[in-house]
Amino acid sequence: MADKSLSGEKKFHVVKRTGIPVWRAWLIRIIAVFLALIVAGIFVMVVTKLNPIDVYKTMFDGAFGTGRKLWSLAQNTAILLCISLAVTPAFKMKFWNIGAEGQVMAGCIATATVMILLGGKMPTWALMIVMIVSSVLAGVVWGIIPAFFKAYWNTNETLFTLMMNYIAIQLASYLSTVWENPAGSAHIGIINSASKAGWLPTLFGKKYLLNIIIVAVITVALYLYFKFSKHGYEIAVVGESQNTARYVGMNVKKIIIRTMALSGALCGIAGLLIVAGTDHTLSSSSVGGQGFTAVMVSWLAKFNPFTMILTSGLIAALGKGASEIAQEFNLNDSIADIITGIIIFFIIGCEFFINYKIVRSNRVNSKIVKIQPENETAQSNITEGEKA
C-alpha cells in the first residue's frame, strides 16, 4: 500500500503561470489553429478522399472569393459578432449566460410581432421605434429573469438560461403556426413582403449595410464601456472578486441584474437585425444556434470586443467556406460544424499551456527512503471492516 502511493509520485507537476507575454500567448493560439487545420484536413482527406489543399482552397474561395461572397460574409459576421458582444458583459462578470439563443429569439419574436400586427398601421418612423423598443425590452426580460434568481437565490444561471432558450424557441414555433402563411405550411413566410413595412432600410443601395454599421457601433461602444465606464469597471471587479466588490461598497446584486439586462438588450438588437434587417421572417431556427456559437466566439476572443471581430469572422468564414465545399463536392454543409468544432477544441486545449506550465517536480528528492510496509499497528485496521 505504502509502496504504491510512493510510486504514484509524479515526476512532473503543473503550476499556474504568472504572466506570459502577449505575443507568446497569441503564438500558442496561432499554432493551435494551425494544428487544428491540419487535423481537420486529414479528417476531410480520409473521409472524402479529396485533396485537403483543394478543399481549403475551395473553402477560402467560398468565404472570400468574390465581392459578393465577401459582403455576405461580412453580414454573417456582423450578426454573430453582435450576439457574441451581447453575451460578453455577463461573461466578464463570470455569469455563465448560455441563454443568448433565447434572448435573441425573444428579440426576433418581438420584432416579428410588431411587424405583423402594426405593420402598415403607423408611419415608418413610429413603427421602427416600437420595433426597437420592443425587441430590446424582450431581450432584457429574457436576460433579467435568470439574473434576478441568481442574485437573490443563487439559482444556477447556466441551467436557467439554457431552459429559457427552449421556451423562446417553442414560442417561436407556436407563433409560426398561428401566423402561418400560406395556411398549413407552419411557416410565416416573408413578412410584409409587398409593403416592406418594418424592414430596415437599405443604405446606399447596399443590402445589410445598416446591420454592419449598427454592429460596428456596438463593438466600439462596448469596448469603451468596458474600458472607460464606471459600469464596466464594476463588472470587472465583480467578476474578479465579489468580496472586493463588497469591500469597496458595490451593490453586487444590482450589478448582476443590470449587466444581464445589458446582455439581454444587445441580444434583443441582434434579434431585430435578424428579423427586420436580414430574414424578414420568423421561425424556430431564426437564431440557428448562433447563440451557442457566440459563447465560444466571445470566449475565444478573451472577451475583447475587437478581438471578437476576428473570432466571429473566423467562425463565419468557416461556415461560408464549408457550404462552398458542400456544393462543389456534393457533400453536406455540416462539415463546417465539424471543422469549427475541431478548431475550438484545439484553441480550448491550448489555453491550458497559456495559463499553466509543466515543471519537473523537485518535491521528492534523492533522499527518499522506502517506507517499511510492515507497520502492523497502523496497517491492521485500515479497512472498512463492515463485512463482519
Binding site: 437565490w153 439559482t155 447556466t158 460544424d337 486545449g349
Partner: protein, 327 residues
Amino acid sequence: MNTIALFISRAVVQGIPLVYGSTGEIITEKAGHLNLGIPGVMYVGAVSGVIGSFFYEKNNPGALNPFLAIIIPLICSLFGSLVMSLIYAFLTVTLRANQNVTGLALTTFGVGFGNFFGGSLATIYGSGGSLALRRTSIIFKTALPFASKLGNFGTIFFSYSFLAYLAIIIAILAQVFLTKTRAGLNLRAVGESPATADAAGINVTKYKYLAIIIGGMIAGLGGLYFTMDYTSGVWSNGGFGDRGWLAIALVIFAIWNPDIGILGSILFGGLYVIYIFIPGLSRSSQELIMMLPYVVTLIVLVITSMRKKRENQPPASLGLSYFREER
C-alpha cells in the same frame, strides 16, 4: 382504454432516448461536470451505429445475421460516444478547460458530425439517395413475442425492443450505483467537494474520467435507439431535434435521480405525442405543449434553489475545475 395504452406505449418510445440521455448526464454531473456536449454525444452515438450498420448491410445483400446486425452498430455507437466523451474529459479534466465552452463545442462538433455522415454517407460510399437501414432496424425493433397476446397490458409493458428495456435497466442500475455502492459514494463526493475526496484518498481524476466516459456512452445509446428503433433506421438531418437538451433539462427535473428520470422521460415523451391523442388539439397548441417540459424544469430549478434543501441542489462543484494547488 386502448387509446390510453397506446398513448403510454408511444410516450415510452418517445421517452427512451431521454432516459439514456438523462441517465448519462446525471452520472457525468455527479462527477461535477456539466456536459453540455451531451446532445452532440447522442448525435455521434446515433450516427456511429448507423455507419456500422450501413457497411454491414452494404456488404451483406442477403439476409442479415441478427446477432451481428445488432452487435456491430451497438459497438460502433459505444465507440463513437466514447471518443466524444474522451475529448470532453481530456479538455475539462486534464486541461481544466471551461466546461460550458467545451460542451458547446462538443455539441457543435457532434451535431455536425452526425448530420454530415448521416446526410452524406449514402452519397460518399453508396448509390446515393437517403439513408435507410430498414433491415437492421427490423431486427432492433423486435418486441417480445408474447406482447401482442396480452392486450393492453402487453402493449404497455412488453411491446418494446430490447434497447428500451436496457434503458430502464441502466437507469435503475445507475440509481443503485449512486446510492448503494461505495464507488457511488466516492463519485458523489468528487462532485460535491473534490478537495475532500482527494484528501480521503480518492483518485479524483480517475473518477471524473470514468463518470464522463461511461455517462457519455450511456447517452450515446439514446441516439442509437432513436435511429434504429424510433425512426426505423431512416436518417433525417436534424431529426433528433432538441432531445439532447431535453435530456439535460430532465436531469434537473429528476433532481439528479436516475429513477425519477425514467418517469420524467416518459412524461416528457408523452408531451411529444399527446396532440395525436387529444381530439381537437391544434398544431399550434402542440407547440405550446412542447414548451411545458422546459417551463416545468425551470419551476423545479427555481423552487429547489429557493427551498435550499441541500440534497436537491446541483452537485456543489458542478462546472468548476479541480486544481490541487502545489503544496
